[in-house]
Structures are given as C-alpha cells and as structure tokens.
C-alpha cells in the first residue's frame, strides 16, 4: 500500500519536523510572492507551489487521501482553469500601481497584521498539547471488508464516514456541482445580437469589401529559414508583407529580432537556388 508507506515514512517525528521547517518557509515565501508579483502568471505558478507543499503536509499528517485529492483537484484542475482564464483574459493585464483609495495599502497591511495577531492569540489560548494522532483510526480494522484491497487505511475509513454519517452532505454536494456547472454555462453564454452569417454571405462580403479576396499567402519556407516570421517571396524576388501575421511581427520586434525583409531581399538570390535544390532532392 503506497499510501501507508508514504504516510508512515513521513510520520516519524524527526523527518516530519525537517520537512515542515524546510517547506513551511517556502510556502510562506510563495504566498507572499503571489500577492506581490505583478505578473498574473507568476502569481498562478506560485499558488500552485503553495498547493503542492500543502499536499506534502497532508501526507505528513496521516491524510494521504486528501494529499492526492489536493494534487489532482487543486494543482491539476483548479490551477489549469486559472491559467486558462488568464490566457483568455490576456496575460498582459498588469495591475496599475496607483492607489485609488488613499492609504489603502497601509491600512490593509495594518489590518492583516492585526488579524494575524488575533489568530495567533487564539491558537496560543487554545492550549493544544500534543495530538492523539490518526494512526489508530486509520488502521482500525473494525469489520474489514475481506478480500477488498486496502481494507482499513485512510481511504477506507474516509469512505465509511462519507457514505454513512455525511451521506446527506455528500448528496447535497452533487446538487451543488450540477448547479455550478449550469451557472457557469449561463454566465459564460454569449447572446447573439446579429444573425449568424452563412457561408454564402461571408463569401459575398469578402468580394464586396475585401481588397484581397483570396487567402493570404503563407510565410516563406526556404532551405535556411523555416519560420512564421520569414516573409514569402513574390515572383519578382521582393518579400510579401502580407505573408507574415501582424502579431508575429510585433513579437519579433519586441524581442529585438527585426523582421528581415531587407535582409531577406539581399540574400534572397543566395537562398532561392539552394531551396529549390533542397526541395528537389
């Protein structure tokens, strides 16, 4: 049973302490980095790191089932959903550093520190000494299902609780999930204000307004250049600006790789026979 090995291996006091003191500061640093990074994608990745570290902590605390669910649901599904929406909304949207409310940042930090002190006081006042541990509960073999793999153990015990004492909550959860799926569909649904154009109408529009009714030419493919930012050559040897997508051109300008119509124009003669030879071989 790998989960038992995972749990028992981390559960000995020495290794658990080491794991905690190594990973807890990293988790706090990641969380702070998430709050203060200006790039939203960096924030998302750091949140993923915090979630993975929490999964390790669950495994260390006799909760192997939750550790795996944490990895699958949070770092798998939820973070992917976040990144997906980030890409949809646009990665370049950065926060402005201008305060809309004066003194909001200072007040926020003060409120957070006060809240932290409040929580710490509560934990200290609770006077928790030691723990009963879950090993006895996880491996309580009351009526073990004979012949069932992993009878006893954390997953089995959680299943027993879930389908016995918490079965109504579990059923309510299914209603919640269906409602959430429906809600997402309703919210993300876009109402069409104009009728959908048929293929015939699209074709007519293209010939009525378009200066270039045919599809745009593809980028150039030569023996030495085979990239989307290489313009195609027209029959007279001049590069065709239509063949390079505008966004590709902007990106290559941003990264300092100026588009090379000029460079290509001068070297076109050198490339052209080579490419012809390469294709014929």
């Amino acid at each position: 049973m790998p989960t038992a090995i995972l749990a028992s291996g981390l559960n000995a006091s020495g290794p658990e302490t080491a794991v905690f003191w190594i990973l807890a500061p990293i988790a706090v640093i990641f969380a702070l980095g998430m709050v203060f990074s200006r790039h939203t994608v960096h924030a998302a990745l750091m949140l993923g790191g915090v979630m993975l570290i929490l999964a390790v902590f669950y495994a260390a605390q006799d909760a192997p089932f939750l550790a795996f669910v944490q990895v699958i649901v949070y770092t798998g599904a939820v973070m992917m959903l976040f990144l997906f929406v980030l890409m949809l909304v646009g990665v370049d949207t950065k926060d402005s550093l201008v305060e809309t409310l004066r003194g909001q940042r200072f007040a926020g930090v003060v409120a957070a520190i006060g809240f932290l002190l409040l929580l710490f006081t509560g934990i200290v006042n609770a006077g928790i000494h030691g723990s009963k541990g879950l090993h006895a509960v996880n491996f309580a073999d009351d009526q073990p299902a004979r012949g069932v793999e992993n009878a006893g153990g954390n997953v089995y015990q959680i299943a027993k609780l879930l389908f016995d004492r918490y079965v109504f909550a579990f059923e309510a959860t299914s209603a919640l999930l269906i409602t959430a799926a429906l809600g997402a569909m309703v919210l993300a649904h876009r109402q069409r204000h104009t009728p959908k154009l048929t293929q015939r109408e699209l074709m007519q529009q293209r010939f009525k307004f378009g200066t270039h009714p045919a599809p745009l030419p593809g980028p150039g493919v030569y023996a030495r250049h085979n990239a989307v930012d290489t313009p195609a050559l027209l029959p007279d040897g001049s590069p065709s600006p239509l063949s390079v997508s505008l966004s590709v051109e902007l990106v290559s300008q941003k990264h300092g790789r100026a588009p090379r119509p000029a460079e290509l124009g001068s070297s076109a003669a050198a490339h052209h026979p080579a490419s012809g030879k390469g294709q014929s071989e």
Binding site: M34, T40, A77, F120, Q157, L161
Partner: protein
C-alpha cells in the same frame, strides 16, 4: 513535533490571502488569494483532525475542496463575462452598481 506549528502556518497563509484580497485589484489575483485562504483553512482542518484523533476534519476538508472547485467554476465564469463587457479584469472597473 507539535501540530500547533501547522496551525500557525495555516494562520499565516490565511492572513497573506486576506492581504492579497485587500491590496490587489486584478480580479483573478483576488480570486487566487481566496483559494489560498481556502487551502489554509483545509490545512487547519486536517491538523484538527489529527489533534482530535478523528477523521471528521478530513471529511470536512474534502467538502471544502468540492465547494472550492464549484466556486472556482462560477467565479471564473463571472470574471470572463465581466471581462467581455468591460474589457478589463480589474475590480475597480466593475462599478455600475456604485451610484
């Protein structure tokens, strides 16, 4: 090792999440901070489960995860629909109900 340390870590992470909700104005980052707060609560629940020697805390953490997943779906759908109408993901721009 005393499980209290996990509770302190959970409190710290929850506070950082609160701080993010208070300071950031990108709706997606605010949402991520809420997720961080939910995760911190889950850590506290798992630790309580260990302290008390019963599995109920773990079952509760499981339910929190389910609710969080549903919340993410609806919340991100709201963000997408707000972005579609306002062309912005900043929480300052969604102010039609203000006046």
């Amino acid at each position: 090792m005393s499980p209290t340390f996990y509770l302190y870590l959970s409190a710290i992470l929850f506070t950082i999440g609160t701080l993010g909700v208070l300071l950031r104005r990108n709706a997606i980052v605010v949402f991520m901070c809420i997720e961080l707060m939910l995760n911190a609560t889950n850590l506290a629940l798992v630790t309580f489960s260990r302290i008390n020697g019963t599995l109920d805390g773990q079952v509760m953490a499981f339910f929190v995860m389910v609710v969080a997943a549903a919340e993410v779906v609806v919340g991100l759908a709201i963000i997408v629909s707000v972005f579609r109408t306002r062309r912005s993901a900043s929480v300052d721009d969604a102010n039609l109900l203000k006046y």
